[in-house]
């Protein structure tokens, strides 16, 4: 997904002279083709995220479309004020490509775990947040980032993520994608947890439980209309994300559900990282398993919620 994203920055830049790239201190060889073929639009500015984001804003105010890339935690926490003021307030066309969304960097410890990036970015007016689930979806997203108005936060997965997206439905920034449909439960995902939800839905089907999987690659602006349409049909709703349960996709859905006034109330549960600094190392997979972000846990949660469902009146 990361490779696809950066490869596409290069491809898009070849066709569009408005496109600039700024990295911090990325791995040696990153986007060498861009650097050698379009050196006057390629910048590697060192470990200085605040300056990079401000510089990107300045270029964007001059009409450029600036793709900025570094590790997710450093693009969200370190330079948050530049993101808010320089990008959000000015509503400029800067695209933040964030490596290692979630617990991708599990072996590197808590300083590198972007478990709060979606929550942080959700607070910024004008910011669009997208978390594709695989490289194919990234390929569908990237061309749409060129002429999109305002800043975009693009959350990358680990790379080599299994392909689970399809082109059955057109990809549009801001639109949720129903992947499978069923009437009992609604599973909502963003990013790579789509795969878990699809596995859970398949298992539920064998148990006679119909699940809709609504994939929300765009967390902001949230496609509340699509979500509510599917939520009305379901007895229970479960969000599954590789993110803190505070303020991410689950938090966004909780806000929508709370204000929707469902009668009877829909049972809802967030699956994600609890409100802790993740402890220990391992891999992305072991970290997710440790915090029960799994298809198995999703099945268990669905069964718990459906056991509580009241008789339907609407």
């Amino acid at each position: 997904m990361r490779k696809k994203s950066l490869d596409m920055v290069y491809e898009l830049a070849k066709k569009d002279e408005r496109i600039f790239f700024i990295g911090s201190d990325l791995g040696v060889g990153t986007l060498d083709n861009f650097r050698t073929e379009m050196p006057d639009r390629f910048f590697m500015e060192g470990v200085s995220e605040g300056n990079i984001v401000g510089m990107a804003a300045g270029l964007a105010l001059e009409g450029k479309i600036v793709y900025v890339n570094t590790i997710a935690t450093f693009l969200t926490r370190r330079c948050f004020e530049q993101v808010v003021i320089d990008l959000g307030l000015h509503n400029v066309n800067v695209r933040l490509i964030a490596n290692g969304g979630g617990v991708v960097y599990a072996p590197l410890g808590p300083t590198h775990l972007a478990i709060d990036d979606i929550a942080i970015m959700r607070t910024v007016p004008n910011m669009t947040i997208v978390a594709p689930c695989d490289a194919d979806e990234m390929a569908r997203l990237m061309p749409q980032t060129v002429d999109h108005k305002g800043p975009i936060y693009i959350r990358l997965g680990k790379g080599g993520d299994p392909i689970v997206s399809t082109d059955a439905a057109p990809f549009r920034i801001g639109r949720a994608i129903p992947m499978v449909t069923g009437d009992d439960v609604l599973l909502v995902t963003t990013g790579v947890t789509l795969k878990l939800a699809l596995e859970a839905a398949a298992a539920l089907k064998t148990q006679g439980i119909g699940a809709t999987v609504l994939h929300m690659p765009t967390v902001k602006p949230l496609d509340a209309e699509s979500f509510l349409t599917h939520a009305r049909r379901a007895d229970a709703i479960v969000s599954i994300e590789e993110h803190s349960i505070v303020g991410g996709l689950g938090g966004a859905l909780a806000e929508v559900i709370a204000e929707a006034g469902f009668e009877p109330a829909r049972r809802f549960k967030r699956i994600g990282i609890p409100d802790v600094f993740p402890h220990g190392y391992g891999s992305q997979a072991t970290m997710m398993a440790h915090y029960d972000i799994t298809a198995e846990r999703t099945l268990a949660v669905v069964r718990e919620l459906l056991a509580l469902r009241p008789a339907r009146t609407n």
Partner: protein, 274 residues
């Protein structure tokens, strides 16, 4: 070099200060000390250095100017009104709910390139403007004014590293070095010295000037870049509250609230006595 404390202000410098005081009075508040130290820097920039067209504030050939120390905006607004970017009437609505002008400059104001106020942002944004000019082979230059308190911010020095690396001859950073920040003297709060040496060490061609000496400022600013292969840093030695004897170097006048008509008259009288 004339001493910045003793130099006399001419009628234009006094007139701009009168505008600042009237604007302060209208809003009943403002960073008056930080604006008064800036007047001659902005005056020379707008009178003698910057290329712009007030009838077409977004004219592509304009020189870019960013007031990174956005709290000095009372001085900027005085110049923007003087040059016709904004209506004089807007000054009398300073900080009002129906006004265009608030306590920090915003990019929707004609003549303002970027919203500033939170310190340490404007220089990086301005650096983006300068890099764009280089890419486009555009003739415009980029000027940014930063504060001395603002120079405590790490992002200023990140931007300085970048500008030095890129050898941006079209980029000019002016420091309004009034030696005072909100809490006290910069020498006590966070000493910047040796300041000119720091800028040189970051790859800038740098010099110092009396920031209230119009002729000296004009002499320097009309011959930038000092070195075409480097960005320029100009340390402008100034006096916080310049022109109002009781406000000069007086921390109480960094920001004033509840400014009354009587206060304004007292300021105006002191200005004339100077």
């Amino acid at each position: 070099m004339n001493d910045q404390m003793t130099i006399r202000l001419d009628e234009r410098s006094k007139a701009l200060r009168r505008t600042i005081i009237r604007t302060l009075e209208a809003g009943q508040r403002g960073h008056v000390g930080a604006a008064l130290s800036l007047v001659e820097i902005l005056r020379v920039l707008y009178d003698d250095v910057l290329k712009y067209d007030p009838r077409d504030p977004r004219w592509s050939g304009r020189d870019r100017f960013v007031l990174s120390k956005g709290h000095g905006c009372l001085a900027l607004y005085a110049l923007l009104a003087d040059k016709g970017f904004i209506a004089e009437a807007e000054l009398s609505k300073f900080c009002r709910s129906d006004g265009l002008l608030g306590g920090h400059p915003e990019h929707h104001i004609p003549g303002v390139e970027a919203s500033t106020g939170s310190l340490g942002h404007g220089m990086s944004i301005a650096l983006g403007f300068a890099l764009n000019a280089r890419y486009e082979r555009a003739a415009y230059r980029t000027f940014v004014v930063i504060g001395d308190g603002e120079s405590n911010e790490g992002s200023i020095w990140e931007a300085a590293l970048s500008a030095g690396k890129h050898r941006l001859g079209n980029f000019v950073v002016l420091t309004d070095y009034n030696k005072h920040q909100s809490y006290g003297a910069t020498a006590d709060v966070q000493d910047l010295e040796p300041l000119v040496d720091k800028w040189r060490a970051f790859g800038f061609a740098a010099l110092e000037v009396n920031g209230h000496d119009v002729a000296a400022l004009r002499g320097v600013l009309t011959r930038v870049p000092l070195d075409p292969s480097k960005p320029t840093a100009i340390i402008c030695h100034t006096v916080k509250g310049k022109g109002i004897a009781f406000a000069e170097n007086n921390m109480a006048w960094h920001h004033m609230n509840k400014v009354t008509a009587q206060d304004a008259e007292r300021l105006l009288a002191a200005l004339e006595a100077r």
